[in-house]
């Protein structure tokens, strides 16, 4: 399949990557600083932002997680392109 993905796809995906990266960095930090209240609060805040973005992405562009861990819709979009390494 070679249909061009809309600008919105790249925008939301990049936003999600950005939030996920902050969560990753904070996670590794908390692994060695588990009692830092400021970072724990920051994780909560970014976790909420992530939830909104995931919902926005999955509604328009299909599931992010395999094994039906993302909300299921009509059809089986997991078998559809594009995959992250194709875009």
């Amino acid at each position: 399949m070679s249909s061009v993905m809309p600008k919105e796809y790249y925008r939301v995906l990049e936003e999600l990557q950005t939030v996920d990266f902050v969560l990753l960095e904070l996670s590794l930090y908390l692994d060695t600083h588990p009692d830092d209240p400021h970072s724990l609060a920051q994780v909560q805040q970014f976790h909420l932002r992530r939830q909104g973005l995931v919902q926005q992405f999955e509604t328009h562009f299909g599931p992010l997680l395999e094994y039906a861990h993302s909300p299921t819709t009509a059809g089986w979009p997991w078998a559809e392109t594009p995959w992250p390494w194709q875009v």
């Binding site: 990557q17 950005t18 939030v19 990266f21 902050v22 960095e25 904070l26 930090y29 600083h33």
Partner: protein, 72 residues
Amino acid sequence: MDSQWRTYTPYSSPLDPCPPRPKAYIVPPNQYVVFQPRGLRQFAPREALKRGTLWPELYSPYEYGGRGGGRR
């Protein structure tokens, strides 16, 4: 040159086949951070993703050609 770089010049012999080139290596900040202190200032999220870390103090820039010319 960035402050993380160190340079050295090995002994150069008149019999060396190639013209001498200065040598360099980088000492990234992880060599100095024993345990990251709390409350370090942070990059904005977008900037953090671009640089590969949330904390400016832990950032190690590496430019193409930083070693003196990139592809030689």
